[in-house]
Symmetry: C2
Subunit: 395 residues, 2 copies
Amino acid sequence: MRITGDQYLIKKINKSIVFDTIRQNHPISRAQISETTNLNKGTVSSLVKDLIDDNLVYEIGPGESSGGRRPVMLLFNHVAGFAIGVDLGVNYILTVLTDLEGNPVEEIRTTLENISFDSVISTLFQSIRTLIERAPDSPRGIVGIGIGVPGIVEEKGTVLFAPNLGWKNVNLSEIVKKEFQLPVTVHNEANAGAIGEHLFGAGKDTKNLVYVSVGIGIGTGIIINNDLYKGALGFSGEMGHSVIESHGKKCRCGNRGCWELYASERAFLEQAKTLSIDSADSTEEFNLDWYLQAANEGNDEVIRLFHQAGEYLGIGLTNIVNTFNPELIIIGNRFAKAEKWISQPIRRIVENRALPYHRGHMKIAFSSLGAHSCALGAASVSITNFFSDMKISVE
Amino acid sequence: MRITGDQYLIKKINKSIVFDTIRQNHPISRAQISETTNLNKGTVSSLVKDLIDDNLVYEIGPGESSGGRRPVMLLFNHVAGFAIGVDLGVNYILTVLTDLEGNPVEEIRTTLENISFDSVISTLFQSIRTLIERAPDSPRGIVGIGIGVPGIVEEKGTVLFAPNLGWKNVNLSEIVKKEFQLPVTVHNEANAGAIGEHLFGAGKDTKNLVYVSVGIGIGTGIIINNDLYKGALGFSGEMGHSVIESHGKKCRCGNRGCWELYASERAFLEQAKTLSIDSADSTEEFNLDWYLQAANEGNDEVIRLFHQAGEYLGIGLTNIVNTFNPELIIIGNRFAKAEKWISQPIRRIVENRALPYHRGHMKIAFSSLGAHSCALGAASVSITNFFSDMKISVE
DNA sequence: CCAGTTTGTTTAATCGATAGACAAACTATT
DNA sequence: AATAGTTTGTCTATCGATTAAACAAACTGG
C-alpha cells in the first residue's frame, strides 16, 4: 500500500528540508532558511521550534547584522547522540564512535589473534561496549551500530558467506542487537566503504561513484544518485569476480579469469613469490608492507610487479567506466597504499581503453579516509536511519 | 532549490495515486479505490472528478453489486491521446502509434535504401507524419514522440556517436521537435528496449533487470528499481565494450577483447565466413537468417558456431549477474532469433560461472516483444512524460 | 416487504502552509 | 541624538486539502 499524502506528510517533508538545511549550512538564521528553502518565515519558525524541542537544533545567540535586526543563529546539535561503526576485518577490528555529523570521536583498533567465531564475537562485543561507555552523555544516546564485513551480506543483516572469516549464514545483526538492544545494520565492507567515501571522503558532492576496495580480494560499492545500489537481493557489486580473461586461471568462485585473480593484494603476493629476492632471506615475512618498502628503496623487480597490478586494475576499472559511466572511481582498502606505484599504470590503461565519451568526464581518486572509510560509512548508515525514523514520527 | 510541501503537493501525490490505481486496476469503483489506497471516500470522489474533467478517466456504468448499491465503474481513457515510438535501425525504420496504455495501434516499417543523412531524416519525417494523420481523434492528440537510436545519446537528445548510421553530434531531438512541434525524446536503442520489455514484455513486474540487445554490436539497458539507470552523464551501459579477454583482439573502440567481438551478430558472421559452406555457393547472401535456416536444416558446423556464440554471451552475462544481481536478464534484438541454439549454452555457462548467491534467484529470458521492444519503449517514455507533466499542472 | 449492506456525496472539523501585518532590534544618515 | 530604513522573527486571518461521520440512494436476501 502506497503512502498517501496528508498534512502530516507535508510537515514531515518540510521538517526534513529545514533540518537538512541547518545541518548543511549551520550556523544559519531562520530568515536565511526561509530564503533558501522558499518556505514561509512562519513555517520555518514553527518547524525550528519542533527541532529545538527534539534536541536536534539549538540557538547559539545573535549573529552579525546585515543592516537590521541581528539574526538568531541556529546550530545542528551534532552531539545530540552518537553512532558506532565497525570495520570487521580479517585479522583486525576497527571500531569508531562518531557524533551525528559522522565525525570520529573515539576509536579502538584490535588485532585478532584468535579467529575462532566465539573469540571474534567476544572481541567485537568488548570493543563496542567500551565505546558505549566512553560516549559522552547526550539526550539521544547511542542511536545505532553499523558493521562492515568482508563477505556477502543479505539485506536483513545475515552474513551469507565470508570466506576469509570462515563464516556462513551468520545472523550478525540479530546477535549484536540482542546484546546491546540497539538498532544494528550489517553491510558488505566495500558497500560501507563506498558510503563512507561518498559522505566524508573523496566522493563528497559526487552523485554517482564506484568505490573499489582492493584488499585480499576486490569488492565494489556502487553509489547511484547519492544512494547505494543494492541489487535485487541486496548483494550487488561483486565485480571482483568479473571475467577479464575468459580462458584464464580457475577461481575459487567457480568462474575463470576473474579480475581479482590478477589485480588484488593476494594476486600480487602470489606473483611476488616468484621474485628472486624471496629466496635471499626466508625468515622475513613478505607481506604488502614489506614490498612497499622494497619499492620505495628502488627495487626494480617489485616496482615492475606493482606496475603490472596497476595495469590489471586499469582493465577492470575500464569495464566499470563503460558500464556505469560514473563521475568518480575511488580506489580504497589496503592496496591503495601502493598509490605511488599503481596510479600511473591505472590511469594510462583507462585513458587508452575506456570509451571516449565516458572517460572524458570521469576522475580516478584514491581513498581519502584511508583505513576508516568502512567504519565511518557503517556508522553513517545508523545515523541516516536514525534521522529517517525520527522524521517518520513527526507526530 | 528543493520542492517544499504544501496542499498542492498533497493533491498532486494523491491524484497520481488514484490515477495509477485506476490505470492498473480498471474497471474499478470509487469505493474500491478508497479501500486499496486508504484514501478517504470523499477524497477519492473529488480526485476522480478532476480526472474525469481531465478526460483521462470516464464512467462505464454500474458494475456488479456485492450485496448493496451497485458501484459506478471507472475506466482509464486509454485513447485520450496517442504516442509515437520509433526504432531507428541501421537499415530500417519501425514507427509505431500507441494509445496511452502503450498498446500498438498502427505501425509502419520502412527499409532504408539510401542511408544518407537527409534521406534517413526525410523517411523518418514521412513515417511519423503518416502516423500522426492516421491517429484517431482524441481530446489530447499526440502527446509525444520517442526515438531509439543505435548509438550514444546525451540526455537532451543529441546523438553523440552512432557509428552504424555514420552520425556524430546530431541534435535529433531538436530536429524532430522543430518539424512537428511536439515533445520529443531520444534514447539509446538498448535503453529503449529495456524500458519496453520492462513495461510490456518479459520484464513486467520485475524491479531490477538488464536488457541485452544483441545485434551487430551488443548494448545493454539497465532497469534499477523500476527506473532506467542513466549514469552520471546519461550514457551508461556500454557493456558490449567490457573486456572479457584482456589481451584479445583489438576493437574499434580502442580497447582489446571487448565482449561484442566474441558474442555479437557481427562476430558470428565473421566467424561463419571461415566455414566450408561459404565457398560452395558465393552468389547467395550469407546473413543471419541464412545461417538460422542452415541450423534448422541440421548443419552441424553452423550449429556449433551458434553454440560458441552462446557460450561467449554467457561469459558476459555472468559478469552482468555478478555486477548487478538482477532478477532477470532479457536477451533481445536480432540475435535473439537464435534462441533455439544459444539458450542452452548461455544457461550452462551462467550456471557454472556466476556466484551461487546471485544465480539462484535470477532468470534469463528472451525478448517477448521481438522487434518491437525499442519502438514501444520509446513511445512509453513519451507517455510517462506526458503523465508526469500533467500531474505537475494540478491547477 | 423490510432489514441490512454498499456506494458515493455532503458537511463540519482539523491541520499545515501562506501572505501580510507587526513589533523588536539594528544600521546608516543627517 | 534623532530619524528613516532594513532585517528578523512572531502573530493572525485565510486558504485548501484531508478526514470522519452523517446521509441518501441503490441494491440484495430472507
